[in-house]
Amino acid sequence: MAKSLAELKAIRDKKVNEINLRHGKNGYRVVVGMATCGIAAGARPVMVKLMEEVAANGLNDVTVAQTGCIGSCRLEPIVEVYDGEGNKVTYVHMTPEKVTKVVEQHLTSGKVVDEYTMTIVDGKIISPEVKA
């Protein structure tokens, strides 16, 4: 990997300036379920798309993380979005296309994309946001 050391160093130098912008208090934390169920349902392309979109939109205060099985395997791939206060919105049956919209609306301007959330349970419409 020797030939790329210079390239890596350049990334690092850029990072030093940016690091203070990250992990801001108000930033969203986005969690993708990455257990057997999630992976089989297509969580990896969702994860990669999320990473790309967050970078493309310059959302430096958004952190992206993974978790194990969330417990509703039939709804995978699942993406959970936590705001600064710990309130949670759960997006289900996610695809890379849906990720684009969630990043544009929810992560960029705070508008929950209702139609992708787990708002209908047994025919009953519930609030998409679970309070901390």
Partner: protein, 182 residues
């Protein structure tokens, strides 16, 4: 699973849950031997001897949320469906080694799939743990080691978007290079 790389992604999550600090992934493909072998080795907690015999049984799992665990069972079934074999060895407190071997041209062998995206997704979930990835394609070798990157960047975790993007490209290009026709 639609790709073998998804099995790899899944099984390395076991290593992380077992508190491994180092995971070694070795893939070897040989057209001459008509073989594709995947080896995943970690230095995690290991599996107690009494559990090891039944670990690839779908109704055996170490988790407490429910009574099924499909990761290893699916990998075993995939290998055995392709005239290959599955093997797991482990020493409690030392680590675990999983091997899946496939007849490369078997009609049921799914593609290896997107290794660059798989490695990136793994690195994101690894945190402070490290990954060694070696890919041998007809005796041409690609290797990748997160410890070298961390050393160069002087960081303890690689979960930053531009580092991840760089890793993705590095893996993609490296694999293309070894798979090029001579």
């Amino acid at each position: 699973m639609k790709e073998l790389s998804l099995h790899i992604l899944d099984i390395t999550q076991n290593s992380i849950r077992a508190e491994a600090s180092l995971v070694a992934l070795m893939i070897s493909e040989s057209i001459a031997d008509n073989n594709l072998t995947i080896i995943i080795e970690d230095n995690g907690n290991g599996i107690p001897a009494d559990k090891l015999a039944t670990i690839s049984d779908p109704f055996v799992t170490s988790r407490t949320t429910r009574k099924v665990g499909l990761g290893l069972s699916l990998f075993k079934a995939a290998a055995e469906a392709c005239d290959g074999f599955f093997e797991i060895t482990s020493e409690f407190g030392v680590g675990t080694k999983v091997i899946g071997s496939f007849r490369r041209d078997h009609i049921d062998r799914v593609p290896l799939g997107n290794m660059a995206d798989t490695i990136v997704t793994m690195v994101m979930s690894f945190g402070a743990a490290d990954l060694i990835y070696e890919h041998n394609y007809n005796h041409r070798l690609f290797s990748f080691d997160t410890r070298e990157i961390k050393e160069t960047l002087e960081v303890t975790t690689l979960n930053e978007v531009d580092i991840l993007n760089w890793i993705r490209e590095f893996v993609k290009e490296g694999l293309e290079e070894i798979k090029e026709e001579e």
